[in-house]
Point group: C2
Chain length 249, copies 2
């Protein structure tokens, strides 16, 4: 079946199953080999890149919908996704399916809810759904170069901005680093998310002041240089900071 | 016209004008006389308290909808409202209009988008719309006691939690205090938002460390005690902190 026929065929079932006018778009970030990536699909129809989004069932909570959508479209099992923005401009979605007539489910006005999460890509087996010819981790530095459908580039950039703000507020990194890590490894994570190099001295001072790190009585061995100290997160203080934020009054 | 007849009459026009399944709920906080309040309506029908929410026009951006809704329902001219959460559980809204049959516009499943803003109530003239018998600033400490419709209490509480997190991240207060204020006045604002008393010494030290205050060469005169120093916000640093957050890497 060609890609247009498939969409046409799915339209009628979609009207039965889904709420009109509402969609959900997960923005999944991955930190891998010191680079920050985002999970995108390329649709067979028109070959543009998309977030792995979808529609909300009539009998389904919105929070459950986004988890199901991400699983169906990319094979990703998400435990928790955080809502970061709602995209509700008129005409944001209507024009994309220009080859179809107005009765197509996909061609109506959709207000979409954006959710994000941050994962370690090496722990995820991606799958490709029936609408797509590719499902990949794309480096965020390439976002400006690729052609994305509708306002999906804007949605991905808002998610990235939210993630950047988030690391000034809440600790990030527990699931992205090995249990024991060096300060240079932690700095690489912050640099990948912030998209800029940080001054080493300033970073060490600020991160230590937060009190979420525990210096271990071990060093990382095997390098040519002086063996660097290993750290882990102080789980109790880390969890308190997740709950209350890094500044408490 | 009684309150049921009015809703019935509005239902048919609503189907013409509005998108189904989507609503917006503004949570407007006011800081007045050292107390934090929230703006609520009481509907004629069933006499429960509501947020001043409403529906989204088919030809209207979502951001414009929430501003129009707030103006229509409470007379409040909002320049900017910040989205803080989406409430999308199935059955969150359907049961409220139990006296009506299923064809009523108001009785369908609505996913609602929550927005919040913080104002000085003395600068706002509230009005009461056709559905309501009251539009009032309710003290947030009373929220637990009053009966609110649907999940509106949960929405208001999530907004309050967001506001509390926000003051650990971004400066708050520019529009809520006189141009020149004392540290005890600023502390009252923080205490009203956080809902707890703060230790004076800790608060002074933390707020001064943020660098957003400018100590003036003036004192507040006229009290019985030693005249307290006056402060104003350092506008440049305040705006930087609004942009980048209070911790920058």
């Amino acid at each position: 079946m060609d890609s247009k026929e498939l969409i046409l065929q799915r339209s009628n079932e979609a009207k039965e199953i889904y709420i009109p006018h509402l969609s959900a778009d997960p923005v999944i970030f991955g930190f891998d080999q010191n680079e920050l990536k985002v999970l995108l699909l390329r649709m067979n129809y028109r070959h543009q890149w998309f977030l792995p989004g979808g529609y909300v069932r009539k009998d389904e909570d919105l929070d459950d919908a986004v988890v199901r959508i991400l699983k169906e479209r990319a094979g990703v099992n998400a435990v928790y996704l955080e809502e970061f923005g709602v995209f509700g401009k008129k005409n944001r979605s209507e024009a994309y399916f220009e080859d179809f007539d107005e009765t197509l489910f996909h061609k109506q006005r959709f207000v979409t809810v954006g959710y994000y999460a941050l994962y370690n890509p090496s722990k995820i087996n991606l799958t490709v759904d029936e609408y797509s010819d590719s499902c990949e981790w794309i480096n965020v530095s390439q976002l400006s170069e690729i052609e994305m459908a509708m306002d999906h580039k804007e949605i991905a950039e808002k998610a990235l901005q939210t993630l950047r703000e988030k690391i000034s507020i809440k600790p990030i990194g527990f699931n992205l680093l090995p249990e024991k890590f060096t300060l240079p490894e932690l700095q690489k994570l912050y640099e990948a998310i912030l998209g800029k190099e940080l001054n080493r001295g300033n970073f060490y001072r600020k991160i230590k002041n937060l009190g979420i790190l525990k210096k271990l009585d071990e060093q990382r061995k095997g390098g040519a240089h002086k063996a660097p100290d290993l750290y882990s997160f102080d789980e109790e203080i880390y969890n308190q900071a997740l709950e209350n934020g890094l500044i408490s009054w």
